[in-house]
């Protein structure tokens, strides 16, 4: 690419994100876990809406989703549906998680698990294994960021330099402002992505059909490539069973950064308000997917499907829009990688190092901030530069594991009898099944590996819980005063009332 504008626009975005991230601190001390970890539980509904929305819309929306539309068709919309279902999950569980944090002082998901089951070992295990999936996710997003800088600079910024540039930028404002930086930068990135996606999508439609209606694109696809408009899609690999089980598994993957985001809200009501409107943000996916559909007839010989939006933009769109697409894609990858890096550092210091080294809260707070540096530059950067072929596999296994932690949450929100050993047994069995059905025998019968894992995990969790000692009754009651403020029931019969003051 000969024009300097795309690179200048992309670098301008990076500079603006840095300024916003650094200013988010606003003179506060960031050495406590409450402040650096969960922004002093202060985020309002609009910031929280954009924080969660931008965090969930990764580089996948700008690269992967158009690529899926290009190679498979409407199968890509399973992502939009499960993201909407995640809003339902946030609406129900988010306010309760916030109350746990406010009343019991939790700042991480693993600390809530350790507290509920009175087991620092279970908390540390959850933190460590969740970290595997989180690292893989952060690495994938960093590779996406570096690739964008490589393309926008016409190859002048090599991948390794792009990795260090992006991580260096995130490190500066993440160290300085913690979760407040993530909130502010994600708000900016969320707005930018929405504008860029629709500007690029509409311009692409105009250049491909001469009008602004998506109908022209889809009428052509319907006439020549009808298989792209239905399941199992053009690749033939998105069966009804895989669509359904992928949605269910993704819905029940309570990733740690999401938990931290809920705890950062100013009140339980704030989370409900943000979650309610969250699905509206996912209109961001539609225009980029349409660019992928345009690619089916405009770029039929593309070697890499996930470059379809960038390739189309570079061939048909003005340089300013190409630059904005670069900035938007970079915003998507940065807004998704920084919450994961933050949550890995937070959880490793709070849930692994603090109990092992018997550290004070003050030292743990300082350690969490410092840990982002080794996490970024000794783990994420080398992996992103090496681009190991098995990374996607690590991510799939990691996400598969995330859903296997479901028993821990069932015991927190629905079933007081769940025991520490029951949760551990369920997680281990579910994880092993997920690993086998991801690596050795991928998704048997077209059912997602994580779903197979849950089918083994849940019966084992229930059986082992029933034959092993329950958690201390006082602890269970403390949790269920929040999870079930109106009482606990046998099916259809309310038998116990637990009065508790509501928290808004």
């Amino acid at each position: 690419m000969s024009s300097p504008w795309p690179l200048l626009i992309t670098l301008t975005y990076v500079a603006v994100a840095m300024v916003i991230g650094l200013r988010a601190r606003a003179g506060r001390s960031m050495n406590s876990l409450e402040e650096w970890g969960v922004a002093g539980r202060s985020m309002g509904p609009v910031t929280l809406y954009l924080l969660i929305a931008a965090g969930s819309v990764s580089a996948y929306t700008f690269m992967g989703a158009p690529g899926w539309a290009y190679s498979k068709g409407v199968a890509v919309f399973y992502v939009a549906i499960y993201l909407a279902y995640l809003a339902l999950v946030a609406w129900y569980f988010g306010p309760k998680v916030w109350q746990f944090g406010e009343q019991f002082g939790h700042v991480t998901q693993a600390s809530a698990i350790a507290d509920r089951y009175q087991s620092p070992t279970l908390g540390a295990l959850a933190a460590l294994v969740m970290a595997i999936g989180s690292v893989a996710y952060a690495v994938l997003q960093t590779i996406g960021s570096a690739y964008i800088l490589f393309v926008m600079s016409g190859g002048v910024i090599p991948i390794w330099l792009g990795v260090f540039l992006v991580l260096g930028c995130i490190a500066v404002y993440l160290y300085a402002s913690g979760q407040r930086a993530i909130g502010r930068t994600n708000a900016f990135q969320g707005v930018l992505m929405l504008i860029v996606a629709w500007a690029v999508g509409l311009w692409a439609v105009q250049s491909a059909t001469g009008g602004l209606s998506f109908a022209g694109v889809f009428e052509r696809i319907q006439a020549d490539h009808g298989e792209f408009l239905t399941l199992p899609g053009a690749g033939g690999d998105m069966s009804f069973s895989f669509w359904t089980t992928s949605i269910i598994v993704s819905m029940f993957s309570f990733m740690p950064p999401v938990w931290t985001q809920w705890m950062s809200a100013s009140s339980a009501r704030t989370i409900r308000r943000s979650a309610t409107w969250l699905p509206t943000y996912y209109v961001v996916i539609l225009p980029m997917v349409v660019v992928g559909f345009i690619g089916i007839f405009s770029l039929p010989e593309l070697a890499r499907a996930d470059t379809v939006a960038l390739e189309y933009a570079m061939q048909h769109l003005p340089v300013v829009l190409v630059g904005l697409l670069g900035a938007g894609t970079l915003a998507a990858s940065m807004s998704s990688s920084e919450p994961f890096i933050h949550s890995i550092s937070l959880s490793l210091s709070k849930d692994v190092l603090q109990p092992v080294l018997k550290l004070s809260d003050g030292v743990t707070g300082k350690l969490a901030r410092l840990l982002i540096l080794p996490v970024m530059f000794l783990v994420v950067a080398p992996l992103a530069i090496a681009e190991p072929g098995s990374l996607v596999m690590i991510l799939l296994v990691g996400l598969g594991f995330a859903s296997q932690v479901l028993p821990a949450f069932i015991g927190m929100f629905f079933w007081p009898r769940a025991s520490r050993l029951g949760v551990m047994a369920g997680i281990v069995a579910g994880f092993l099944v997920t690993v086998v059905f991801t690596t050795l025998w991928p998704h048997p019968l077209g059912i997602h590996a994580g779903f197979w894992g849950l089918m083994i995990n849940l019966p084992i969790f229930i059986a082992v819980s029933l034959i092993t000692p329950a958690t201390n009754a006082e602890v269970v009651e403390r949790f269920f005063r929040i999870s079930a403020p109106r009482g606990l029931s046998y099916i259809g019969q309310q038998i116990e009332q637990v009065k508790t003051p509501t928290s808004r």
């Binding site: 919309f77 109908a215 009428e219 408009l229 009804f240 539609l286 079933w415 009898r417 403020p485 606990l488």
Partner: protein, 75 residues
């Protein structure tokens, strides 16, 4: 406390639970099979239109849920 489950404790709570389950059913098999056609609706594939209907129905159900939670003054 040992064998109890958390379930809705009011009629409105049960209705909300049923609405949540119906939303999840609407976006998965077998319901998704009913809209798996190459038909275009307002220029968009039926699957895309259905997906966004489900997505916006989620907003409506949560708005109703907010009303119930705030009316009954509980979480």
């Amino acid at each position: 406390m040992r064998r109890l489950l958390v379930l809705p404790t009011s009629r409105a709570g049960w209705r909300l639970l049923i609405a949540f389950v119906a939303l999840v059913a609407a976006g998965t098999w077998p319901v998704i099979g009913l809209v798996n056609r190459t038909t275009l609706v307002m220029g968009l594939p039926l699957m895309v239109v259905w997906s966004y209907l489900v997505i916006f129905a989620c907003v409506v159900v949560m708005l109703i849920g907010n009303h119930i939670v705030e009316r009954d003054d509980h979480e």
